[in-house]
C-alpha cells in the first residue's frame, strides 16, 4: 500500500489507497440436505487520485503491479470529475466493536449441525417442506491510507444463518423463510425456526381480498420489502444534490407522521452494518434523517457533502472496491406504542404484508412501490384468516407515511441493515384476481 501511495504521489496532488480482503466459509444445504462447503478468499486494491484537480480511479485484484494501477488511474483522471473535497487527515475513530474472534473458531462441523438442526425443527412441523439453508462465517480487513496522513484500518467478523422453505401443493407454491446475521457467532436459532413455523401456520388457509383500498400492516420484513428502497434513495446525498429526491429543500419541514423517526447508524456494536470508519476514512456516526416527522438530514460522502455545502456523515461505501458513494449503513425506525396484536384487532378488513416481489421496479425515486404479495395475510374482523395470493398492492411513501394509524411497539432487525417496528398504514390500493 505504501508503495502504491508513493508511486501515485509522484504523479498526482493527492492519492488514496483502499485495500480490502476477506475470507468467507459458507455451508450450503439444498433440498433439506447438505450440498456444498465453500472457502472464498479475495483481495482487491483501489486507487483514487486527484490530478490537476480531477479524480482518477482504478482497481485491481493483482497486487503484483502497482505501476499499472497508477497508470490506469492517471489515464482516467484526464477525463475525471472535478474533486471538490479534501481527503481526511489523521482522525480519531470511535470505539465500535465489529470483530469477534469467536467467529473464526466456530467449527465447520458445528455449522453443518446447526443447519441440520434448523431444517429438522421446521420439517417437524411441515415434513413436505423443501428447504435451502445456509450458515456462513467470514472475516475481513479494511485498510485506507491517503496522502494527507489519513489512515484507518479495522477487522470485521460476520456470521449469518438463514433458511428458505418451499411448500408446493398442486400448482400452489408457498415461500417462507427467515435469516439472521451478526458480528458475533449466532448460537440460538430456535426463534428463527419458530418464526418460519408461524408463517406456515398463518398461510395454511387461502383467503382473498377484493380490488379496492384497504388498511395494511407492514411487518418489519414488509417494511423492508415495500419502503426501504424509496426511503434509502430519498435520503441519499447523491440523489439530494442532483435535485432528484422529493426531499430536496424540505429539510426542517414536517412531511411525515409526527410519531415517525428514522436515523442511520453505523455505530451499533456487533451490528453487521457497523464500522469505525467509512470507506473514505471518515469516522462513523449516527445521523438523524426524519425526527418526529420532520426531514432532519441526508447521508453524504466527501464529494456530495462538498457539493451540498455540508459535512460528510461518514456514509461512503464501496461495492467491491469501486468508487465511494453515499449509502445507508443500518436504518433504524423508532418504536411506537401499539402492540402488533392490537393493530390486527383494529382491522375490519385488510392485509398484513410480509413480503412483496417487484416492489422496487416502479418509480422508486418518486416514492412509489407496487408489488405482488409473495407472503401476506388477510385480516377480517380483527383476526388473521389466511394467506392472500395473486394480489398487488401499490402506494407512495410520501402519502402512506404522512398519516400512519399506528407504529408498532416492538422493533426487529431485518437482514442486519434495518431495524423497524411494524407500521400500520391507513390505506393502500389493492388489485386482485377475481
Amino acid at each position: 500500500m505504501e508503495n502504491i501511495l508513493k508511486l501515485a504521489k509522484k504523479v498526482a496532488e493527492e492519492a488514496e489507497v483502499f485495500l480490502v480482503s476477506s475470507k468467507e466459509t459458507p455451508v450450503g444445504f439444498e433440498a433439506n440436505r447438505l450440498k456444498m462447503l465453500e472457502t472464498s478468499e479475495s483481495t482487491s486494491v483501489s486507487l483514487r487520485i486527484i490530478k490537476d484537480g480531477k479524480i482518477g480511479f482504478s482497481t485491481t485484484t493483482r497486487l503484483d503491479d502497482p505501476q499499472a494501477l497508477v497508470d490506469m488511474a492517471v489515464e482516467t483522471a484526464q477525463f475525471g470529475a472535478e474533486a471538490k473535497f479534501a481527503l481526511p487527515t489523521a482522525q480519531a475513530y470511535p470505539q465500535i466493536e465489529v470483530f469477534d474472534p469467536d467467529v473464526e473458531s466456530v467449527a465447520i462441523e458445528h455449522m453443518v449441525e446447526m443447519g441440520k438442526a434448523l431444517i429438522d425443527r421446521v420439517l417437524s412441523h411441515t415434513p413436505e417442506l423443501v428447504c435451502e439453508a445456509g450458515v456462513a462465517k467470514s472475516e475481513g480487513t479494511v485498510h485506507i491510507l491517503n496522502s494527507r496522513g489519513g489512515e484507518a484500518s479495522y477487522r470485521k467478523s460476520f456470521f449469518t444463518i438463514g433458511i428458505e422453505g418451499t411448500l408446493i401443493r398442486d400448482t400452489d407454491m408457498l415461500f417462507v423463510g427467515e435469516s439472521d446475521s451478526s458480528c458475533n457467532p449466532i448460537r440460538e436459532f430456535r426463534e428463527m425456526a419458530d418464526a418460519v413455523i408461524e408463517q406456515l401456520e398463518l398461510a395454511k388457509r387461502p383467503a382473498s381480498v377484493p380490488t379496492g383500498k384497504f388498511p395494511v400492516i407492514l411487518t418489519p420484513k414488509g417494511v423492508r420489502s415495500a419502503l426501504l428502497t424509496p426511503l434509502a434513495l430519498a435520503v441519499n446525498g447523491k440523489i439530494v444534490v442532483e435535485g432528484a429526491s422529493p426531499l430536496v429543500g424540505k429539510q426542517g419541514e414536517l412531511l411525515f407522521d409526527e410519531r415517525l423517526s428514522l436515523w442511520d447508524d453505523a455505530t451499533i456494536n456487533y451490528c453487521p452494518a457497523s464500522r469505525p470508519s467509512d470507506d473514505e476514512g471518515v469516522p462513523s456516526q449516527s445521523t438523524a434523517l426524519i425526527a418526529r416527522g420532520v426531514v432532519a438530514g441526508f447521508l453524504y460522502d466527501l464529494q456530495t457533502a462538498a457539493i451540498a455545502g455540508a459535512k460528510s456523515t461518514g456514509s461512503a461505501s464501496r461495492a467491491r472496491g469501486g468508487m465511494p458513494t453515499p449509502s445507508v449503513s443500518a436504518l433504524v425506525i423508532e418504536e411506537g406504542d401499539t402492540p402488533f396484536e392490537d393493530m390486527i384487532r383494529d382491522i375490519k378488513e385488510g392485509l398484513v404484508i410480509e413480503m412483496l416481489i417487484g416492489a422496487e421496479q416502479g418509480n422508486v425515486l418518486g416514492g412509489e412501490f407496487s408489488g405482488n404479495v409473495l407472503l401476506g395475510y388477510k385480516v377480517e374482523n380483527g383476526e388473521i384468516v389466511g394467506r392472500v395470493k395473486d394480489t398487488m398492492v401499490s402506494g407512495n411513501i410520501y402519502d402512506v407515511l404522512k398519516g400512519l394509524v399506528a407504529i408498532g411497539s416492538e422493533a426487529k432487525w431485518v437482514g442486519g441493515a434495518l431495524k423497524t417496528p411494524p407500521l400500520y398504514l391507513p390505506s393502500l390500493a389493492v388489485a386482485s384476481k377475481g
Binding site: 450440498k35 493483482r62 417487484g358
Partner: protein, 467 residues
C-alpha cells in the same frame, strides 16, 4: 505473477492424483472500463483488472468449492476443495446406509480455444471517444426542458476464462460484453418521474454510437409522465411490445425451466412434467446460448458443456428444461449447456442465456383492433419471479380504447401466475426482436448477461397494479 496463458501445466499438475470423483478448475482474467455521468457531471470514470480462480470438487454427491485471487499454491487449493467435498459427501452418506454416488451427465472432453467474433472492439476505442459519445447524449438530455437530472452509465469488459477438468477438458474462451444504461429524471414541484433504458451487445461498440434518437425520446417521455394520469389497477387486456414480452418470457417461464429448482422437489417434478400444457398451440418458448451473436451466447458453458438451443415450450406444451450436468443426470435428461457462473467467485448454476417467444402471424394492428379498453405496455424496467407468481414492470404504458393506442399513463407493474397467464396469451405477433439490455440475477450472482426477445403479444385478464 504468471499470466493466464502460462497456467495449463500448473492446472495439470494440480489435478494429478487427487482423490475425488470429479474436479474442475476455472481461471479468469478480466479487464473492464466504465464511465458514468450523473446530471451534467462526470461522476465516475475508472478502469479495473482482475485475476482469480476457483476449484470445485465432487465426492460421493458432495461439493467443495474454493475461490481465490492468488494463483500460487493451486494444488493445495484443489486439495482443500476435495477435502471439503469429502466432508459433505460423508455428511450425506451418514443419512443413508451405503452413501451416495456422484452423478454427472457424461460429456465428451473438449480441448478448444474460442476467440470472440467482434464487429467493433470496445477495447480498441479510446476512452476519449467513449466519453465524447456520452457527452453528446448528455447534451440531448439537457436540451429537454424540465429535466432534473440523469444517469448515463457505460461499461465494457473483456473476460478470458480457462476451464479444465479431471476428465481432460481444457477450454479457453474469451468474451466481450458491453452495456449502456440510461435514466432520465424529470421533476415538477414535488413530483418526480423517471424513464430508464438499458441496452447491450456482445460484439459491437457500434451500437453505442447511434442512440441519439432513443435518448431524445426517453428524455421527452420523462417530462410527459409528469402530466400523465394515474392508472387504476385491476384486470385488463394487455398488449406487450417485443422488449417487455421478452422479459415476460424470461420471468414468467424461463426461471421455472431452470431445473436446479425442479430436480430437488418431487412435487414440483410432478407439476413440471414434460408434456404438460401451459399455453395455446401458437406458443413456442426457446432458450439457447447456441443462438449466435447475442449477450447470452457462448460455445461452452462453465462446465465445459457445448451450448445448445432448447425448446422449453413447443406448441403450448412443456417439452424441455435447462440443465447443468448434475441436474441432467438426476432427472435422466440430456445436458443443455446452461451451467453459468457470474465470475470465478461463484460455482456455476443453471441459468438462462438467450430466451425468446417464437413469432407467429398476427400484426400489431390486428392485435389491438378489437380491444375496447386495455393497456399497451412497452419497454423494460424490471422483472422478478417467485416461480409461480411473477411481476414485470413497463417503462411505458398507454391506454388502448376501441382499437386505438391513446394517452400515456404513469408507469405500471404487471403481475401474473405462470399456471394461468401463459394460457391467457391469445395473440402472438410477427415482429420478433431481441433485447440485449438484460442482466439476470439469481442467488448472489447478478447481473449475468442475457438476452430476451419476442414479437408483440396480447394477454387477456392480466393483473395490473395502480392506484
Amino acid at each position: 505473477m504468471a499470466g493466464i496463458d502460462e497456467i495449463r501445466q500448473q492446472i495439470h499438475d494440480a489435478l494429478k492424483g487427487q482423490d475425488s470423483d470429479y474436479i474442475e478448475v476455472r481461471i479468469e482474467e478480466r479487464e473492464a472500463s466504465r464511465i458514468q455521468y450523473r446530471g451534467r457531471e462526470l461522476e465516475d470514470i475508472g478502469r479495473s483488472t482482475s485475476l482469480g480462480g476457483n476449484a470445485r470438487a465432487l465426492v460421493k454427491g458432495g461439493w467443495g468449492f474454493v475461490s481465490f485471487n492468488e494463483l500460487s499454491g493451486l494444488r493445495e487449493k484443489v486439495a482443500l476443495a476435495v477435502k471439503q467435498a469429502r466432508l459433505v459427501g460423508r455428511g450425506r452418506a451418514g443419512e443413508f446406509e451405503k452413501g451416495e454416488e456422484s452423478k454427472l451427465s457424461p460429456v465428451a472432453p473438449v480441448v478448444d480455444v474460442v476467440a470472440p467474433k467482434i464487429k467493433k472492439d470496445p477495447g480498441a476505442v479510446p476512452l476519449a471517444r467513449k466519453k465524447g459519445l456520452l457527452d453528446e447524449y448528455n447534451e440531448i438530455i439537457w436540451d429537454t426542458p424540465k429535466i432534473q437530472t440523469s444517469v448515463i452509465a457505460y461499461g465494457d469488459s473483456r473476460r478470458s476464462v480457462i476451464f479444465a477438468n479431471s476428465e481432460g477438458s481444457y477450454i479457453k474462451q474469451t468474451k466481450v460484453d458491453l452495456s449502456v444504461r440510461l435514466m432520465v429524471i424529470a421533476r415538477q414541484d414535488g413530483d418526480v418521474q423517471q424513464v430508464a433504458l438499458s441496452m447491450g451487445s456482445s460484439d459491437d461498440f457500434g451500437f453505442v454510437e447511434g442512440l441519439h434518437q432513443e435518448v431524445k425520446e426517453a428524455a421527452q417521455r420523462a417530462v410527459a409522465l409528469l402530466s400523465a394520469p394515474q392508472f387504476k389497477g385491476g384486470e385488463y387486456t394487455v398488449v406487450l411490445d417485443p422488449v417487455l414480452a421478452g422479459v415476460f418470457a424470461h420471468e414468467a417461464f424461463g426461471h421455472l425451466s431452470e431445473s436446479d429448482f425442479v430436480y430437488k422437489n418431487d412435487r414440483l417434478k410432478d407439476i413440471m412434467v414434460l408434456g404438460r400444457r401451459f399455453g395455446g398451440k401458437h406458443l413456442n418458448i426457446v432458450d439457447g446460448a447456441a443462438i449466435p451473436g447475442l449477450r447470452g451466447s457462448y460455445k461452452y458453458d462453465d462446465e465445459g458443456v457445448p451450448a445448445t438451443r432448447t425448446y422449453l415450450i413447443k406448441e403450448g406444451v412443456l417439452v424441455g428444461r435447462l440443465h447443468s450436468r448434475q441436474t441432467a443426470a438426476k432427472m435422466g435428461e440430456e445436458p443443455t449447456g446452461n451451467a453459468r457462473a457470474l465470475n470465478y467467485r461463484h460455482p456455476p448454476i443453471v441459468r438462462m442465456t438467450n430466451t425468446l417467444i417464437e413469432p407467429q402471424n398476427v400484426s400489431f394492428e390486428e392485435m389491438i383492433a378489437d380491444i375496447k379498453e386495455g393497456v399497451y405496455v412497452k419497454n423494460w424496467y424490471g422483472g422478478m419471479t417467485s416461480m409461480e407468481m411473477f411481476t414485470f414492470s413497463a417503462g411505458e404504458a398507454y391506454m388502448i380504447r376501441n382499437g386505438r393506442v391513446e394517452e400515456l399513463l404513469r408507469p405500471v407493474v404487471l403481475t401474473g401466475n405462470v399456471f394461468t397467464t401463459l394460457e391467457n396469451i391469445d395473440a402472438i405477433g410477427n415482429d420478433l426482436e431481441m433485447n440485449q439490455g438484460g442482466g439476470c440475477g439469481k442467488g448472489a450472482q447478478s447481473p449475468l448477461p442475457v438476452s430476451n426477445g419476442s414479437p408483440h403479444i396480447r394477454i387477456q385478464k392480466c393483473l395490473v397494479g395502480g392506484r
